[in-house]
Symmetry: C2
Subunit: 161 residues, 2 copies
């Protein structure tokens, strides 16, 4: 089957955080603790932010702009042996797309004030979706090697360029 | 701030489902009921599937290849009035990226056998991530207009090209 190429995506905004280097970034929003940041949405897209303020969490979908080349097997932060890349959340993916369910504190014009930010400063934002427990929360879902993983909460530079 | 353009992403595989037209497709995996399908992963990426079989659910990230032009305000399937696009899961987004937490039944070589598929047949797959309740499940998260929405479970053609 022939598939059309995926069009080049354009940033809809930029993510701001205290993290200018990968080492020390929280590995996930859920384990980030207090980790404030914000998303600055570009002007053409501000009207699409309506009604977002009713949601406690939002999905940020973004480009891992500092990741190194894709690898098919990696040792993830919460394990000590190599795993298939698609069973991990490592950034060095064939399509380096990141996904974070961050807490939305406030919408102020084109700025989303956030907490639980696990994203590098300057990251290009591709999409925002509402977090809906009706659709997204499966609290008892079995999670393979991660269910036996370590409790590490912060990154190092292993996946950087 | 100047940002580099996002590189064009390449499909890592294709999603197969019984749904050849948008009308009647489940609006979300969580409300899809029995809805089998599969993901066929292209050969260069098969080694990255290792360890995925331990996970009960996986995130599929894909391109909405049949969506119409982006709109900033839409009437979502579960409401009767217009909402800001980013507070909805509608496909007609500035970057038409889809996100589904489907059930993973079996990994058979390059094929992932799935259930709870809410995706059109032939959809280009961009990424796979493990679903980890440790990171992804927030069952009591407040969900704005959706908490007061209808119980509609299937799509129509309103967002099609």
């Amino acid at each position: 089957m022939t598939m059309l190429p995926i069009p080049a995506f354009q940033p809809i905004g930029v993510i701001r955080s205290p993290y200018t280097e990968p080492a020390g970034v929280p590995i996930q929003s859920a384990v980030a603790g207090d980790s404030p940041g914000r998303a600055e949405i570009f002007e053409p897209y501000v009207d699409a932010l309506g009604d977002l303020d009713g949601f406690e969490r939002i999905w940020l979908i973004y480009a891992f702009h500092r990741c190194g080349p894709a690898r098919l097997r990696v040792t993830p932060f919460r394990d000590t042996i190599e795993r298939g890349l698609f069973s991990t959340r490592a950034p060095c993916r064939p399509n380096p797309i990141g996904l974070s369910p961050v807490r939305l504190l406030r919408v102020d014009g084109n700025v989303l004030e956030l907490d639980g930010v696990d994203i590098l400063d300057g990251t290009p934002l591709l999409d925002i979706k509402p977090y809906a427990p009706q659709f997204d929360a499966f609290p008892s879902s079995r999670a393979g090697w991660l269910d036996r993983g370590t409790d590490r909460n912060h990154a190092d530079e292993r996946f950087e360029k």
